[in-house]
């Protein structure tokens, strides 16, 4: 298992056929970002979620192919390879934060902006499902100009955090409450 992600020859441009292929994967289509966003904005939430999960599943699968046994992979290794695959899709730079027992994943410099946050969350859910076989819910904690944070939680925890966030509880307090309630 290699720790570093090697993107060499990850994409293959076949100009004769007019195709772009990804290594160990199928054909890719390079589309404009605003066109994709317009499509996502016009689609239903479930359609966007489904679209995103499919993207994540594909990234999880490739990572598993690279890592072999992903369930034994460390935090750094998962971050390195999963982040590499998502970077090849052009979705942004993946980050990992640990707040106590809570796992927080983030995207920086995403070209989709705030309109693509639902899509990005769905990508992460599909990757966790494909790589680790866990059903997770990505709860958007915060968003600024450069970064968007998602709490990877279970279903019950996602409901509580969503409720506190809708109540205006700061995302730091949400994490503290989840940690306190979880510890108690």
């Amino acid at each position: 298992m290699s720790l570093n992600f090697d993107p060499s020859y990850a994409l293959e441009f076949d100009f004769g056929r007019g195709q772009i292929r990804m290594a160990n994967a199928g054909e890719r289509v390079v589309v404009p970002c605003d066109a994709l966003l317009a499509l996502c904005q016009g689609a239903s939430e479930d359609a966007v979620r489904d679209f995103g999960r499919r993207l994540g599943t594909e990234a999880g699968r490739v990572m598993n192919d690279r890592l072999g046994e992903a369930w034994q992979a460390s935090l750094e290794t998962v971050l390195e390879h999963l982040g590499g695959e998502l970077a090849l899709m052009g979705l942004g730079s993946l980050g990992l934060e640990r707040w106590g027992q809570a796992l927080v994943l983030s995207f920086s410099h995403s070209p989709l902006g705030w309109a693509g946050d639902l899509l990005l969350g769905s990508v992460l859910e599909g990757a966790m499902q494909r790589s680790f076989g866990r059903d997770t819910v990505a709860i958007k904690l915060m968003r600024d100009d450069q970064k968007v944070r998602f709490l990877m939680a279970g279903r019950s925890g996602a409901d509580k955090a969503g409720g506190w966030l809708s109540q205006g509880v700061p995302w730091g307090d949400v994490l503290s409450r989840l940690a306190t309630r979880g510890a108690s």
Binding site: A70, Q72, T77, M152, A153, G154, G157, L178, G182
Partner: protein, 474 residues
């Protein structure tokens, strides 16, 4: 008439004295040019010059009488006035010299073989005595020095056939005149007859002079000697002495060091106002030493001891007067003890080791003393017993507990200093002395406990994901 006779006598004495002076050498060239009759040729010690090196002399030189080493000017009749041109150039001047190389070897006129070496050595080219004047000069009206005859032209060495160094009468070689050489010549001297003996009669050689009287030879001083001739008569001696005195009065002594053969040199006089230090008077010095220190001359130094004493000016400003301090008279401490200077008697024996019982230490001192006693822990050092107010303190075992101390007031001297001094004023009516207690030692123990709860870091991403999924679940 008597004056004329006196003048004639003086002139006679001078002529006689001058006649006794040695005569000088005259160069042949000068003799040739001079309109004087050459003296008979004597044994002329002409030194033969080298044939090749010596230039050929002019023909006139060969026709002229051979050069003579010693030739005195012949006596001529008195002439009222003779000029120098007549003296030196009556005859035709010598023809200009033209060097000719004769085909035949030049016959060099040599000196006779019988000429002795002594004759050559006796020739003094630089005589200490100036040459005698010619009689032509003597007969002049004005008194002139005998050596004032000047050569009209510089003597050329080419004309010196004989090889004898010519004596120059020019101004370039000043002659040192002696006293006897200076003779005043008056007009009356011209009328005097010729001396009774001519200069040519003088014999400067080694040849004995049989025809001359012995006394004249004895009286002749040597050529190299400056000794004057001995006076013949008393009048002559007196006249010479008077003349010498007159000459010494107006004589200027040369400052430069004379040659050793010139005889004693007269010391130059010191300027006026400067004189050599006088020798100390030994007797006066001895008397000064013999005199006692408190004597009359003790406070007054002698002028010799003063030397160059500089008198200082008196100080300017107001005059200060110093009062005479009163005489200190120490009073005797005890009348019974003998009074000695600078001696202080100690107190008597009755004051040693005792003090009054009624004296009480001040309360501040007592506190400090108690504190010091506690620090030292020396129980043996007890304060002095005072039976007035405080009971006598007895040594007692230290109390295990803390006794309360109730000071009346507590003041702090300084708040700014790091160590402030706390003064506890004990009430005056307290029966017991204040007791200072120290805080018991506390064993080192942790004052606070900080518990750091470290969450175990998940080893794998799967563990963190599971823990995060577990959040919020009941």
């Amino acid at each position: 008439m008597s004056q004329d006779v006196q003048k004639l006598q003086e002139l006679l004495t001078r002529v006689q004295r001058n006649a006794a002076l040695p005569r000088t050498l005259v160069s042949p060239s000068l003799l040739q040019a001079a309109p004087v009759q050459a003296a008979p040729v004597q044994a002329a010690p002409v030194q033969a010059a080298p044939v090749q090196a010596a230039p050929t002399p002019p023909r006139a030189a060969f026709e002229a009488p051979p050069a003579v080493a010693y030739s005195a000017p012949a006596y001529t009749a008195p002439i009222s006035e003779i000029r120098e041109e007549q003296v030196f150039f009556d005859s035709a001047p010598p023809a200009p010299y033209v060097q000719k190389f004769p085909s035949e070897p030049v016959v060099q006129v040599s000196a006779p073989l019988d000429a002795s070496v002594d004759d050559l050595l006796l020739e003094d080219p630089f005589p200490s005595v100036p040459p005698a004047p010619s009689y032509n000069d003597v007969l002049e009206e004005e008194p002139i020095p005998l050596v004032s005859v000047a050569s009209p032209r510089p003597i050329d060495h080419d004309d010196d056939v004989s090889g004898v160094v010519a004596i120059s009468f020019g101004e370039d070689q000043p002659e040192e005149l002696l006293e006897d050489d200076i003779v005043e010549m008056t007009s009356a001297e011209a009328e005097l007859p010729a001396p009774h003996h001519a200069l040519d009669e003088l014999n400067f050689g080694d040849e004995p002079m049989d025809d001359k009287p012995a006394d004249s030879i004895d009286e002749e001083p040597p050529a190299s000697s400056s000794r004057s001739r001995i006076a013949g008569t008393m009048d002559e001696a007196l006249a010479r002495a008077a003349e010498q005195i007159e000459m010494e009065e107006g004589r200027e002594v040369p400052l430069k060091t004379p040659p050793p053969e010139s005889g004693p040199q007269a010391a130059t006089g010191l300027p006026e106002g400067i004189h050599a230090p006088l020798p100390p008077d030994i007797e006066e010095l001895l008397e000064a030493d013999i005199m006692p220190s408190g004597g009359v001359h003790a406070a007054v130094p002698t002028p010799g001891q003063l030397g160059q004493t500089i008198d200082l000016e008196e100080a300017r400003g107001p005059s200060l007067e110093l009062d005479q301090p009163p005489v200190f008279k120490p009073e005797p401490l005890q009348d019974d003890l003998p009074s000695e200077e600078l001696e202080v008697t100690l107190p008597g024996r009755e004051f040693i080791g005792g003090y009054q019982d009624g004296l009480m230490p001040p309360p501040e001192a007592r506190q400090e003393l108690d504190a010091h006693r506690q620090r030292v822990g020396d129980d043996s050092l007890l304060p002095p017993e005072s039976g007035s107010e405080y009971p006598s303190q007895q040594p007692h075992a230290p109390t295990s507990g803390f006794a309360p101390v109730m000071p009346s007031s507590v003041t702090t001297d300084s708040h700014s200093e790091r160590v402030s001094m706390v003064t506890v004023d004990a009430p005056s009516n307290v029966e017991f002395a204040p007791e200072l207690l120290a805080r018991p030692d506390i064993n080192p123990s942790p004052v606070a406990k900080f518990i750091r709860i470290e969450v175990p870091r998940p080893k794998t991403f799967m563990e963190l994901l599971d823990s995060s999924l577990a959040l919020g679940s009941d």
